[in-house]
């Protein structure tokens, strides 16, 4: 139990209590162990994003409990949730991950500034992460001067520089071509394997699912299947 990073119990999320209620999640039990990469799959509207948001402390369940790294999210106030997101969760969204007026390095530094990391350390860590992700030469550019794939990789750098217990990515490859998607996935794979960062992704993309260590299929707000991949595609 202690190496569970995410533990959702009988989680229900209903949107719009007046008029027609949409039951986005209906009593989902979902656990993620440390070091896993779980890919949430399923048709559009099945509740992937909803579940991801609940796990990341961006939304609250209508019913049920969510525990992240031992913290019961239901008990946390708005600002405590905000702090949890800042300190324990790294986010990579589909788009608009970066602050347009800051350069790539500054974007990576920014989150450490929010955390209150010493200035000297900040720059060093930001440069080192960009270096490890092969982004050193674009560090000074602003997001507008980067390709979609580069932007997503900078977003990954931003998400992992704080060494979060959990990395969440919602359709990270939606705006990327397949070659760039493969690069991004290789990066996530390395982060997952080498750094032991736990990852949860929500995606339609079979390539993304192929890279995960576990595939959770959602349908109509319920988990339909949950399988550990014996031989992830990236090994082939």
């Amino acid at each position: 139990m202690s190496d569970l990073v995410v533990e959702c119990r009988r989680v229900t999320r209903v949107y719009g209590d007046d008029g027609v209620a949409v039951r986005a999640l209906q009593g989902v039990d979902f656990r993620v162990a440390k070091g896993e990469w779980a890919a949430l799959a399923g048709p559009s509207g099945s509740g992937k994003s909803t579940l991801l948001h609940l796990v990341g402390g961006l939304d609250r369940p209508t019913d049920g409990t969510v525990v992240v790294d031992g913290e019961q999210l239901n008990d946390l106030s708005e600002s405590q949730l905000s702090d949890l997101r800042l300190r324990k969760v790294g986010f990579v969204f589909q788009a608009y991950n970066l602050v347009p007026v800051l350069s790539a390095v500054e974007n990576v530094e920014f989150i450490m500034q929010l955390q209150g990391v010493e200035p000297a350390q900040r720059r060093e860590r930001a440069l080192s992460v960009l270096d490890q992700l092969g982004l050193s030469d674009i560090g000074e550019r602003r997001p507008g001067e980067l390709s979609g794939g580069q932007q997503q990789r900078v977003a990954v750098a931003r998400a992992i520089v704080t060494e979060p217990v959990l990395l969440l990515a919602d359709e990270p490859s939606a705006n990327l071509d397949s070659a760039t998607t493969l690069e991004l996935l290789a990066l996530l794979r390395a982060i997952n394997e080498e750094r032991g960062v736990t990852i949860v992704t929500a995606t339609h993309d079979p390539i993304v699912m192929g890279h995960a260590s576990r595939r959770v299929l959602l349908r109509d707000g319920r988990i339909e299947s949950d399988e550990v991949m014996s031989s992830p595609a990236w090994h082939a």
Binding site: H53, L58, S82, F93, V99, V101, L114, G116
Partner: protein
Amino acid sequence: MKLTLLVQLSWRNLWRHRRRTVILLTTICVAVGSVLVLNALLRGMQMSMVETAIDNLNGHFKVLAPGYLDDPGITKSFELEPSGIPGLSAEGIRGWAPRVRVPAVIRSERETRGVQFVGIVPGSEDISFLGDVDVDGEYLSGPDDRRILLGHALAEQLETGVGRRVVLITQGADGGNRESGYRVAGVYDAVGTGIEKAFVFTGLATVQDLLSVDAVTEVSVRLTEEARGPSVLGDLTNTFDGLDVRTWQDLEPQAAMMHEMADATVSIWFLIVMGALIFGLVNTLVTAVMERIRELGMLRAIGMRRGAVIAQVVIESMITMVIGISTGVVLGLLGFAWLAEGIDLSAFAEGLELTGLRPELVPQLWAQDVFLVVVLSLVLGFLASIYPAHRAVRVQPLDAMRR
């Protein structure tokens, strides 16, 4: 440390739309600059009016016998110690002038006019407009001078001039008429023709002789500085127990009212200009927030606190105001320096004489006014950011992903 981050972010965001920001800054700059220049002009006008009111034989304070204002005449007079004003400390007082002022009729060979006949101590009149008045002919030599000084406009009406004789008739303390002839020593030029037509001057002792009294009807007191007013007023009231001590505002209620109106005009102008400006600022800030909804949602999602989002908008507003205000103050100072020599209004001299304004308007820029404009602008800049900040903080973290 977090603040430097927010300042940096706000600063960069401010320049995201260079043109919009430049237009906004220019507007603030021009508004602040124009408010300061207008302020300086109004102050100049205001002070010129006060100077005129004080110069026109009022002084800051005037000591009068009770009832003189309702029924001026030698019966409403009082005696002075030969040594001057007893027991009054000289501190805060620039000078004082005793006078006998009585209503009289002046007659030349051709015309007759009603005037105020005023006996003065010429050497003491440096506290009034007589101190540096332009005189054709000669100024009075002393309190015993038996000649008279009359205004240019009156001399024209009477068709008389320097060296000619006129007759003055007034009423003695006993109610009987006193009449005497005087030679014109000089003809003076005052700021308004009203003054020139109203006052005929001679030596103090000359009028006292004519009326067979030792008394005076008024003592004007001029301060070294306005701030001394209250303490000197207290001293005067004690010293001249039983007499009336009036301020220039009591004596010139119209000038006093215009003085106060100038204050109000400055504030109203400031509020109108700044009100329009703040409207523009709020508008720009709201637009900037709406443009950045995704970014703000993303920042909130990755863990930026609500307070930091609010601070970001407030800082952006304050940076805008600080730049706009400082360039505006520079603009205002330049405008002031350009006008500092004074503006020649002699083209409007006729109209101005009625208001008691001098034909030259010298602007005055007061540190306290600049300070007030700066502080109020900053406060308004802060207030202007409240609503946009509120809009920004309403953005939910999930908004970043939905669109």
